[in-house]
């Protein structure tokens, strides 16, 4: 199985039409950037592992990472994408 990074930039509700938990592979990663950070609680309740959030985006929104959410800096963000097989910007 290849590894896909699923990128979200808006609250989860924005994707209710076309997105479903069943699309996420066992080794896939979830990346929260921009306004998706506001909804980290719901993302964390839906995807209980491999959940990453951009530090710069979350700080600008006054958000500290919830349980299960790994904060990453910009360099680790690049590493995350380069180390995976592909990304989908939902």
């Amino acid at each position: 199985m290849s590894i896909t990074v699923h990128i979200f930039s808006k609250p989860l509700r924005y994707y209710s039409n076309n997105f479903n938990l069943a699309l996420i592979g066992e080794r896939d990663k979830i990346l929260l950037q921009q306004d998706a950070c506001y909804d980290q609680a719901r993302f964390a309740a839906t995807f209980n592992k491999n959940l990453y959030m951009l530090e710069t985006c979350s700080i600008a929104r006054g958000i500290s990472p919830a349980n299960l959410v790994t904060l990453i800096d910009d360099l680790s963000w690049v590493d995350l994408l380069v180390a995976s097989d592909k990304s989908i910007t939902w």
Binding site: I7, S9, Q33, Q34, D35, L54, T56, C57, D74, L75, W77, V78, D79, L81, V82, K86, S87, T89
Partner: protein
């Protein structure tokens, strides 16, 4: 080291998306990856509108593109998307007018394609 290609899909009113893309590009360069090009598609072609005027306390959208261009990154825009949206394709500043085919051929040569919407 990886070869990356970026496509941007949102217009010049989306300051947050532009900054997010820019941060990714800067970090990728720092890690010695190559950015094959940044391709403007859909509403992103509007970045080539040459009269963006923002007050001095706003994000200076055009200076971000100038900086990216001065870093040697190829900035291309989709001619069809541009013509539909009324962009003057004779006057696109730091952006090069390209066809979708040119972009697609470059996509085939890179390791990763990252979209910013």
């Amino acid at each position: 080291m990886s070869q990356l290609i970026i496509s941007l899909h949102c217009g010049p009113d989306a300051h947050d998306s532009l900054q997010c893309m820019n941060r990714f590009v800067q970090a990728a360069l720092k890690q010695n990856h190559t950015i094959k090009c940044i391709f403007l598609y859909q509403d992103a072609v509007l970045h080539a509108n040459q009269h963006i005027q923002l007050s001095s306390d706003e994000l200076q959208v055009s200076s971000i593109w100038e900086q990216l261009s001065s870093q040697g990154i190829a900035l291309k825009l989709c001619v069809t998307a541009a013509e539909k949206r009324g962009i003057n394709t004779q006057d696109t500043g730091v952006f090069t007018v390209a066809g979708l085919a040119e972009f697609a051929m470059e996509v085939c040569k890179v390791d990763k394609w990252v979209q910013f919407r």
